[in-house]
């Protein structure tokens, strides 16, 4: 492939590529995101290709290994394009059935179609699946239609047209103004206006200037940025090039966390391809504008996602936040003006340039425009990757798109914003998803992690989980963050093990206020949020742990015990076989049914899981209720 020298060349190439794509009547888009890969998606794609060759239909049917389709719960999934029919839970042995269906329309595929529980019907088209129906997929659309590692697919789908438009029709100022006008806010968590940040970098003194993609997504349960970068790396790259053009940067970095090997691989591939096509490097599209990008691999520290820490890491230092009150937009990498935005923020830029600020503002709320990607996980039926317009309510995301909490359990809270965020209780579910609204209730948008919790989740345990995470992921430099999380963890450990004291809640609150006020960087300042928000909405649960030594969710092992209901036990012995501690005896009811020997019990819960649902004889009870 020779360089694309002019915008006209790009159009011609796109037409050629589209003709090539259209030459085959049908494409099978196999989801090859991290989740589906783990379920064998690559072997599935290989099997499809093998079977297609065997049947000699290679001229009609092709296979694409695309980015994440979103409904991770039902993977591996395959979408038949362009018809849009989708099959879920497909494994290599199901390949003939799918191909029969493609060839003759008579394949035995009904069982792989999505079952809409409400209507009780099977749904064939992806766009009719409730999970997708209520979404507004702008950034994730390419994840469905293009091969994740192919620049040709990206160009065929209209990729790099925003870059061509900017370089030929727009001045850097015009690009900057469009982003400002669109009110695009940083998707990494802070929600700072991207246009304003770009402007301050552009105006800052010092050359060269740098633009940087923050792909150090480390929140537990979050995979938005990873999926976007591995699914459509070129859209992120195109956004970055546009930003560089607007800001006047000649060099950029993509900082990818160590734990995202696939995203890193695809990002590198995208850079190499873009360079080969003349979309990166010297004199891009004959415009005299030159720009190039390097990938920097993170070393595994969560705190490196903080802007000044990330820049220290790029310089080769330990990823610790800098204490100075100087913005990285003025003094960033090597003391030069640097513009850092996260993956999703950059990926929005080509769409804004192509379709305009007015189109972008047409989605979302007045102050939070556009769409937002969330990773919806936890106790929810449809876990996966979700893109919705800002302003949609949490209830719609969790119940309409997520399908609610799996049967038999009740919704309790949703945790948003990762370790720096907080929990939102049921009463606030009608809150619109909006940077400012979530902050008001003590949580935050964060980068978009959303963990749904049911009544089997203990709020003390939840706070303890996040504080433990932060205590180990703090850089440890400043006293408030390091010692504050250490002491919070001590106190929460104490409460969870039934040793809580009456003044512990006051201590937690005092520590929270102190850390928020005195910590060096945003990690420490927001570290108390998980404690503060659970205390705010679920204080009674803390008090129960402390005063009654009771964990209503049955999670804190020190406060619960397992018992076997003598009237329900049918002596099947499943619990006894499962118990690793030999703590189950045939001692009850004249030696006919089983009992738990409390002295031996290690509270692992194996008996609880092993007891068949139809008996439900093993139960969790408060530890204090057991007579030893």
């Amino acid at each position: 492939m020779s360089r694309i020298a002019t915008p006209g060349d790009l159009v011609k190439l796109r037409d050629r590529l589209n003709a090539k794509r259209n030459a085959k009547a049908t494409w099978l888009a196999v989801c090859a995101g991290t989740g589906c890969r783990a379920c064998g998606a690559m072997a599935l794609a290989d099997k499809f290709e093998e079977e297609i060759e065997k049947r000699g239909i290679g001229d009609k049917v092709g296979v694409r290994r695309t980015g994440c389709h979103g409904l991770c719960e039902r993977g591996p999934m395959v979408m038949v394009q362009p018809a849009g029919e989708s099959y879920f839970g497909i494994h290599p042995e199901n390949v003939p059935a799918v191909l029969d269906q493609v060839e003759t329309g008579k394949g035995d595929v009904e069982q792989f179609r999505y079952l809409d529980e409400e209507g009780g019907k099977r749904v064939s088209k992806l766009s009719d699946v409730p999970f997708y129906k209520h979404q507004n997929r702008v950034l994730l659309e390419n994840n469905l239609w293009g091969d994740a590692s192919s620049i040709e697919d990206y160009i065929a789908l209209g990729g790099y047209s925003a870059l061509a438009k900017a370089l030929t029709e727009m001045t850097p100022d015009a690009v900057l103004n469009e982003v400002k006008e669109a009110k695009l806010r940083g998707r990494g968590g802070g929600g700072f206006l991207a246009g304003r940040k770009w402007e301050s970098v552009r105006k800052a003194e010092g050359e060269p200037k740098y633009v940087i993609v923050n792909a150090d997504e480390g929140d537990p349960g979050a995979f938005m940025d990873g999926s976007l970068l591995e699914g459509t790396p070129h859209s992120v790259l195109e956004g970055l090039i546009l930003g560089a053009y607007a800001i006047g940067a000649a060099e950029g970095f993509i900082y990818v966390r160590q734990e995202y090997p696939l995203a890193r691989k695809h990002a590198q591939l995208a850079i190499d391809q873009a360079r080969e096509y003349g979309l990166l490097g010297e004199d891009i599209l004959g415009s005299n504008f030159s720009f190039d990008v390097k990938i920097h691999r993170g070393a595994g520290a969560f705190v490196s996602g903080e802007s000044s820490a990330l820049m220290s890491a790029i310089e080769g230092h330990v990823g610790e936040p800098r204490p100075k009150y100087v913005h990285t937009s003025e003094k960033g990498v090597w003391g030069k003006p640097s513009c850092l935005n996260n993956v999703e923020t950059w990926a929005n830029v080509p769409h804004i340039i192509n379709k305009g600020a007015a189109w972008f503002k047409g989605m979302g709320t007045a102050e939070s425009t556009g769409t937002k990607i969330f990773s919806l996980v936890g106790k929810v039926k449809n876990t996966g990757l979700v893109e919705v317009p800002m302003g949609i309510t949490l209830r719609d995301i969790i119940f309409k798109i997520g399908g609610g909490v799996p049967a038999g359990k009740q919704f309790k809270a949703v945790q948003t914003g990762g370790p720096s965020g907080g929990v939102v209780p049921e009463a606030l579910l009608d809150l619109p998803v909006d940077f400012d609204e979530l902050t008001k209730v003590g949580s935050m948008m964060g980068s978009g992690g959303m963990i749904v919790m049911d009544t089997n989740t203990c709020m003390v345990d939840t706070a303890r989980y996040y504080i433990r995470f932060l205590a180990h992921e703090s850089c440890g430099k400043c006293v408030p963050c390091r010692e504050g999380t250490r002491q919070m963890l001590n106190i929460l450990d104490r409460i969870a093990s039934g040793e809580g004291r009456e003044d512990d809640l006051g201590l937690l609150e005092e520590l929270a206020e102190f850390m928020q006020a005195a910590s060096l960087c945003a990690l420490g300042q927001s570290a108390p949020n998980p404690v503060a928000s659970t205390l705010k909405y679920f204080r009674d649960e803390y008090e129960e742990h402390i005063r009654e030594k009771r964990c209503r969710a049955g999670v804190c092992t020190a406060l619960i015990a397992y018992e076997i209901d003598q009237s329900k036990c049918k002596s099947c012995g499943a619990c006894q076989r499962a118990c690793p501690a030999g703590a189950i005896d045939k001692g009850g009811k004249d030696g006919k049914v089983f009992t738990v020997v409390q002295e031996k019990c290690i509270k692992c819960g194996a008996c609880f899981s092993a007891c068949p649902d139809k008996f439900n004889a093993v139960t969790k009870v408060p530890a204090l209720s057991i007579k030893r």
Binding site: K324, A471, S474, V479, E483, L507, A518, L520
Partner: protein, 188 residues
């Protein structure tokens, strides 16, 4: 105290610290400007021979900028600016300092009496090191030997000696008296 890399060729800036009008060279930190007029802001990790580190947060003060923004900042890294109002001893900052002393108890008690701390409400386990980093930074910035470093992060963070440094560290010993608890001295 000699000030490194600060206040050179800077033009004079006027600010108010605890009601006192102060003039300081541009680029000077609020901490140094305050100490210059006899106002002592307590510090743990600060030492004029090294770059300000901003880690102990003892030097936090309340400021109000000329455009009316109020906030708490670490004075060792906050540069003076025209019209800045600084309060170094308010209830808020005293509360923060007291908490810091408690959280580092008993490893560092220099200001314990002044802040009325006689014990800690926390089980700290901070027996002989407050992690101020003075030794690590002295070795790196002044001696340029880099014999000391921090290993681990978060609550696992601790100072460490580069393997095989014991003899040369004992021979140098310059950082020993920077340390309130003798951490380095007892390890080589």
């Amino acid at each position: 105290m000699a000030e490194k890399k600060e206040g050179k060729n800077g033009k004079a800036v006027k600010l108010v610290i605890d009601g006192k009008e102060v003039e300081a060279a541009e680029g000077t930190s609020v901490l140094v400007a305050a100490r210059g007029v006899g106002i002592n802001i307590p510090t743990l990790c600060y030492n004029g021979r090294m770059e300000p580190y901003g880690a102990c947060r003892m030097c936090m003060v309340e400021i109000e900028t000329s455009w009316g923004r109020k906030r708490l900042v670490a004075s060792c890294v906050y540069p003076v600016e025209e019209g800045l109002k600084v309060q170094t001893d308010t209830e808020k900052v005293r509360k923060i300092r007291k908490m810091i002393i408690e959280l580092l108890w008993p490893s560092w008690q220099a200001y314990a009496d002044e802040y009325g701390v006689t014990s800690s409400r926390f089980k700290t386990g901070m027996t002989d090191c407050s992690l101020c980093g003075l030794c690590v930074r002295y070795c790196a910035e002044v001696k340029k030997e880099n014999r000391l470093y921090f290993k681990g992060r978060g609550i696992e963070r601790q100072p460490a000696l580069v393997e095989g440094s014991e003899l040369s560290c004992r021979a140098c010993g310059e950082c020993f008296n920077l340390c309130g608890s003798g951490w380095v001295a007892t390890r080589c």
